[in-house]
Symmetry: C2
Subunit: 545 residues, 2 copies
């Protein structure tokens, strides 16, 4: 039991405190967000990653609650993994709650958890923490930042935010609240660093509407808009423009349809019933009378847009005259897939509009000038850049210096580095596990780096498997060795190579003077490398009779 | 023997005509460029790709020569593969020739090929083709575009180009020549589309110098500049600024050192001897007295910068106070690796400058306004966008329309689509193989999509290998089955799963009523999927005694 206030940015994939964070005072812990990450290109075969929260498992009795700041996967996606271990009350705004409920029911946790709805502007007492939720603009409605009053002082957590003066839902970030916080004195500001290397001010979500209008005005046939299933504001904008051009609107795909339903039910999406039609209805209408909204703007092969780009979509296909809008920006690492998808859409005869050629997408995160504004509004004593990779945190830290926060009061740390506040001063505490856990199939954490390294080796050069049957007395081969390879060479064209391997095996069996298995593996390995400059995994099994 | 003029954009990775192209008239063929491509992230284990030029193999007798427009890998890298099949004279400007010679000698072809040096402004007669080389600005010196006079008319090939009014080597693109061509009447323009979705005008290479000056002025310790080994102009600029701030300059790594040597010898790089020091000397000097130039700006793990970022560089390590400049832009697909490298450099205490936060790099390719200028200068009857992916070609084609080239005179095609000119009219001809060939280790083309698919499967879920020894009379198992897995689960933590597989095998052997091998594979496959939601490859080998 200590009276220190501790900030613990927990695991993630480089983005500090983005997916999960703990705020501790005494023996009370508050969790902020429980998100997942998608694997990088070299994390072979991994479905997704979740934060490594073993640090909390040892203290699970102390956890008082989980706050989810907004409804994006990288803040909500690990909720069921966390709740299975630490089933504490969850606090979320209505839309975030709605999206969480959907996720929880899909993971068999519906009704098994305690969900508390909170509104921006409200306050919750959670253990010794007094949490004030303030509205922030982002690329999903109903996002909040947090003012956490603790016995050690007031901490402000920005959540994912931007300062949009003309948001599509007409609900700007709560400047007054931020000002009020500064009046009370803020011990530390923790702020979103995603766009710390973007100068200026992120454009308003509103700028997309003229671009969409332009698209609809010139579109001859169907309009197909692809974006994230969570960008409710984009649905709203497409709806408005669709109505303007007398087009009916249909949502394609489960996630898109489901999210739209939730958002409409809760009043975050204002689309008149007579604007919406089912996909089946839409497909029966004249091309210039419909707009379809679907997922796949990241080029995911299994998404609607991905399948349309390869002509493998069940329900409908692209047709001449279609205009496809990718209303999104490639997530780092997805560029190749997104560009390939765009090329394929062109190849299939669609007119394709994407963010490089028209402002059909804007970022949901603050740029440098907004970051500075937040610091001036909050006037924090200490500053901790979060929600970004190290390079973003360093940029954000230098912005803090520019607005006059002395370097010694800025903590640029990585996941797992505990930050402590005592008597108003900030110190670095110990390091705790701050990594991630692979989720692959139904396995959580049963695959570690070693297995991924095996997959890398197999992916690089494949393997060769040799099975031998020897006479247990004479040691001679009783059958032709069986050789299987995968991912190594196209065997139909490698008869000669295989024949040489057969000979090599025969000779080695005849002449070996040490452990046969080792000698065979070594000999085959060396031979194949000399012949092909590749290093497939080699397996030799020897049976005797 | 026909009197058609044929343009054949040959294989590549989406970028049309970028890596190789054939110009045919009658029974004479001219090859333009012989480049390689680097694999996309999902081309597992592949070293690089070269164009599929089998179309030319059947006509190799007709090939009159190879022109290499400039010294970049994606235009030169396949030269030895092509020459091994089609050893015809090569035409290149001095720097390009110098870089080619280096490459050829490393591939044992030194002295075995006919290299002709040509100068921008000169002309070569190659078969029925009269080729005029005109200078273009690009991110490597001595690049040329081509004016190819054929019996069917004059074709202009832009090469990779930009219109830089203040190039570092003070050698602007040859506007006069382009104007002269238009005077003669141009049948078709083939132009670089790389930046067709970039509005405006690509900044001059010159803008980098102030940014570098700023870096050097504020750098306390060593400056380390990473860029491509081929960006001679960057070496020149770093040299100028280094001298200004009394720093000595050292090139690190073979390719960088070798290219600098060639460029200096041929007079394309003007660095006084007393400015240059060896790496060993540099490392002995005071940090503020040196600048090191190395490769690795794409985050290649094996490059100098890659090794510095992981602390695995042999010769020297990063030290506090180092300023690292990534003077490049991530090649699409490399973003993840580049960003990871930048984060690691920050983690190791370096101050990192990259193109997102300072103008330390500009593109070597023309933007939209330059593309329009080229069209106006050349006034072509027909237009063929090349050197870009399909999405770029479509943008470039729409720019052509904007400057008044009617759509029916623009051919937006993919690799392998023959374009024919007859009596001044353009028609699409047949399709020929326009793909690529994988190069992996020493194997060229011995790995096809099927092997890569095997690698994908292995990378996704690994494999399980089961070896059984049965009694040939009773069919009972004589030994515990041997089970090997790789890339599937971390076996140390999977005892239970393995035990269940053992039991499953025992039961199946006891109760099977069909082909045992099939039944085992099927049973294990189903079991593992139900247990883990993964689908490893399953191999069962059965021996009897």
């Amino acid at each position: 039991m200590t009276n220190k206030l501790r900030i613990v940015p927990l695991g993630g994939l480089g983005e500090v405190g983005k997916n999960m964070m703990a705020v501790e005072y005494g023996d009370n812990i508050l969790i902020v967000d429980t998100g997942l990450m998608f694997p990088e290109n070299d994390m072979l075969g991994i479905d997704y990653l979740i934060p490594d929260f073993q640090y909390l498992l040892d203290k699970r009795k102390q956890v008082a609650g989980i706050i989810v700041t907004h409804g994006h996967e990288d803040h909500t996606g690990a909720i069921h993994h966390v709740l299975e271990e630490i089933n504490v009350p969850i606090y979320a705004t209505p839309l975030t709650r709605g999206l969480l409920e959907d996720k929880l029911s899909r993971n068999g946790l519906a009704g098994k958890v305690r969900l508390n709805t909170v509104q921006a502007g409200e306050m919750s007492r959670i253990g010794p923490f007094q949490v004030e939720y303030f509205h922030v603009c982002h690329s999903i409605p109903d996002g909040v930042g947090l003012g956490i009053t603790t016995p050690a002082g007031l901490i402000i957590h920005s959540g994912d935010f931007k300062f949009d003066h003309t948001p599509v839902d007409n609900w700007p970030t709560d400047y007054a609240k931020l000002g009020e916080f500064s009046g009370r004195g803020v011990l530390a500001l923790l702020a979103d660093s995603t766009n710390a290397d973007k100068p200026g001010w992120t454009p308003s979500e509103r700028v997309i509407e003229p671009a969409l209008d332009q698209v609809f005005r010139s579109a001859q046939g169907r309009v197909i808009v692809a974006t994230f299933a969570s960008v409710i504001s984009r649905m709203q904008q497409v709806g408005v423009v669709a109505a303007r051009y007398r087009r009916k609107m249909a949502f394609v795909g489960t996630s898109m349809t489901e999210n739209a339903k939730i958002a409409r039910k809760l009043g975050y999406l204002d689309l008149p019933d007579d604007l919406l039609v089912s996909v089946d209805q839409a497909l029966k209408m004249k091309p210039h009378e419909v707009v379809l909204m679907c997922t796949g703007s990241q080029g995911e092969p299994s998404s609607i847009l991905g399948r349309l780009s390869t002509g493998t979509n069940r329900q409908f296909d692209l047709q001449a005259g279609d205009t496809v809008v990718l209303s999104s920006h490639p997530i780092p690492g997805n560029e190749e897939t997104v560009h390939r998808t765009i090329n394929r859409l062109f190849r299939r005869g669609a007119k394709v509009i994407y963010d490089a050629i028209a402002p059909v997408h804007v970022s949901g995160h603050a740029s440098q000038e907004e970051m500075k504004l937040l610091m001036h509004l909050v006037k924090p004593k200490h500053f901790i850049p979060i929600h970004g990779e190290l390079r973003h945190l360093y940029q954000h830290a230098s912005l803090a210096q520019q607005v006059g926060i002395p370097p010694e009061r800025v903590a640029t740390v990585e996941n797992g580095q505990v930050i402590e506040f005592e008597n108003g001063e900030m110190h670095l505490g110990e390091r705790v596990p701050g990594g991630y856990v692979f989720v692959d199939g139904s396995g959580v954490g049963d695959i570690g780096p070693s297995v991924v390294r095996e997959r890398e080796a197999l992916a690089r050069d494949g393997f060769m498997m040799v099975t031998l049957m020897l006479d247990k007395h004479s040691g001679r081969m009783l059958e032709e060795p069986e050789i299987i390879t995968r991912g190594f060479v196209y065997t139909q064209n490698a008869d000669e190579l295989m024949a040489s391997v057969q000979r090599l095996i025969t000779d080695t069996v005849r002449n070996h003077d040490g452990d046969l298995q080792d000698e065979l593996q070594q000999a085959i390995k060396t031979f194949l490398y000399n012949e092909t400059r590749r290093r497939p995994m080699i397996f030799v099994t020897i049976s005797q009779r």
